[in-house]
């Protein structure tokens, strides 16, 4: 075969591969667009249906309100500035509860990993505390810490700490014992075993408890605010319910949904940053 002929075949092969690939990526893009389109229309249809049913009297406007009214309420509160203190206090409580919960939970896991004796002693207590509905402790926190920020953060911690401890401790225990053996064979101490093997190996598990804890923290904060608060989004919901202003309830719900999602996405982003090397 001639040299030029061979290169001709190679070139046609190449263009064939290129064409295959472009068709493939086009197909992928189209699929993605379809998903986004259906997703968006689902949301729009929901709001349109809600609006229409309320205006046409299919559902009770007083109970369910309707989107334009809800958005007007949110916009009004934003402009007048009455929304911001409530939003600020709730987000503040959630962030503090989330950070403290993760930190304390991880620290507790380290302590019981360190001492297998302590771990065995505490095991039944952890099980009891984990199984019981922690929200029931709310009144006790109020008496202990007063009706306010501290009691709400404590309610949040009661929900997040033990779960974090259990998950992180579990991941400490499921580290391949042979990796520990490698460190031991070099004469490594227990401190070295922890920092060289246990902690880095459990890092992904710790980071993934962050995601769970975001959701948990919101539960703790909103319930805490239901119980005690004089401000915050949970307070707005209860207040709106008591004065039968369901537009306020609905708008608070929408804001919670938006802010909680934003916070979750932030954690997902941080997780990606932390784990992208692996």
């Amino acid at each position: 075969m001639e040299q030029s002929e061979i290169s001709g075949i190679a070139a046609s092969r190449e263009s064939w591969l290129r064409q295959m690939h472009s068709t493939f990526s086009q197909e992928k893009r189209r699929e993605k667009n379809r998903i986004v389109a259906v997703r968006t229309s689902l949301l729009l249809v929901f709001f349109a249906l809600w609006e229409a049913s309320a205006r046409l009297g299919w559902i009770d406007e007083l109970l369910f309100s309707y989107p334009t009214k809800v958005f007007r309420q949110i916009w009004g509160d934003m402009v007048s500035g009455t929304l911001w203190p409530h939003l600020g206090i709730t987000v503040g409580e959630t962030v503090v509860g989330f950070a403290l919960g993760t930190l304390l939970g991880t620290l507790l896991a380290v302590v019981i990993w360190w001492s297998p004796f302590l771990s065995a002693v505490l095991d039944p207590y952890m099980v009891v505390f984990n199984s019981m509905p922690k929200v029931a402790l709310g009144p006790i926190f109020i008496v202990m810490f007063g009706a306010g920020f501290t009691a709400i953060v404590m309610t949040t911690l009661s929900i997040t700490v033990i779960v974090t401890t259990l998950v992180v401790y579990n991941s400490f225990c499921s580290v391949d014992p042979n990796l520990v053996k490698v460190v031991r064979s070099f004469g490594g101490t227990r401190v070295q075993i922890f920092f060289k093997v246990i902690l880095p190996a459990s890092f992904p598990a710790i980071v993934s408890t962050l995601k769970v804890n975001v959701g948990m923290s919101w539960v703790g904060v909103i319930v805490g605010e239901f119980l005690v608060a004089k401000s915050g989004l949970g307070y707005l919901i209860i207040y709106g319910f008591q004065v039968f202003n369901f537009t306020l309830v609905m708008s608070s719900l929408l804001i919670i949904a938006a802010v909680a999602t934003a916070m979750y996405q932030l954690v997902v982003y941080v997780e990606k940053l932390l784990l992208n090397r692996r």
Partner: protein, 259 residues
């Protein structure tokens, strides 16, 4: 000359919830400097137990173990231990993995780092220093594990079936590499294996253990003609097949004892 490893009346029992079971009983063994000794035997004969005891990872219930004349109670950097699989840390680069032992023993300095990089090069791993273990093949990873073990410059190397998880061809290449490297460095080595031909090809002595409880049944000395050639060619030496059959027959008898 002082033996590198000396075992005197070593007995070990594992304690469980229901009973205490005897793993090895009254072992006496002495291994000289630069010797390469293999431990073979049917499963349950306490090969790995014995290796863990010599490594200081396990305290024998009775008896005395000394390495370089000093009794062993804890793992020490003088004794290198290589496991069945590489167990490299996936979150560390190849070089960071290789430097682990130096880091743990507090001997990480510029010179040792340079030596480790050189050692990686000797093992055909040049240019892989910044790669992660997941990017390497099984044979390469086991070579990194070898570098990690040798980086602390142990006088005694314990090998717990380090080739058993590898493809046959890579296993043969690694046997050559390990035996050549150890010979050059004058390292004393104890190899646990279930592969008789591997044991004969790489060692000076093959120690056959019998199970229930683990005891030394017989010690075979590998003839000079087999010992002086690389493991790959040792298998073709006259006398290799005969020795293999001799060990094999003895092991069959030892194994039948357990039934």
């Amino acid at each position: 000359m002082l033996p590198v490893v000396e075992l005197k009346g070593v007995t070990h029992a594992y304690l469980g919830e229901r009973e205490a079971s005897l793993a090895v009983e009254d072992l006496n063994l002495s291994i000289g400097s630069g010797e390469f000794v293999s431990l073979v035997g049917p499963s349950g004969c306490g090969k790995t137990t014995l290796l863990s005891i010599i490594a200081g990872l396990l305290q024998p219930s009775e008896g005395e173990v000394s390495v370089y004349g000093r009794p062993i109670h804890n793992p020490s950097p003088e004794i290198g231990y290589m496991l069945q699989q590489d167990y490299l840390f996936p979150w560390r680069t190849i070089l960071e993995n290789a430097l682990l032992g130096l880091e743990l023993t507090g001997n990480l300095n510029e010179e040792n780092r340079r030596k480790t990089v050189e050692l990686l090069g000797d093992m055909g791993l040049a240019g892989k220093e910044d790669a992660y273990p997941s990017q390497l093949s099984g044979g390469m990873r086991q070579r990194v594990a070898l570098v990690r073990t040798l980086a602390t410059d142990p006088g005694l190397l314990l090998l717990d079936e380090p080739f058993s998880a590898l493809d046959y061809q890579i296993k043969l290449q690694l046997e050559d590499l390990v035996s050549e490297t150890l010979r050059r460095r004058g390292t004393t080595a104890i190899l646990v294996t279930h592969d008789l031909s591997e044991a004969i090809a790489v060692s000076n002595r093959v120690i056959l253990l019998e199970p229930n409880p683990g005891r030394i049944r017989k010690v075979f000395t590998v003839p000079e003609s087999i010992r002086e050639v690389p493991p790959l060619y040792a298998r073709d030496q006259p006398g290799f097949a005969e020795l293999f059959h001799e060990v094999w027959k003895e092991m069959e008898q030892a194994g039948s004892k357990s039934v």
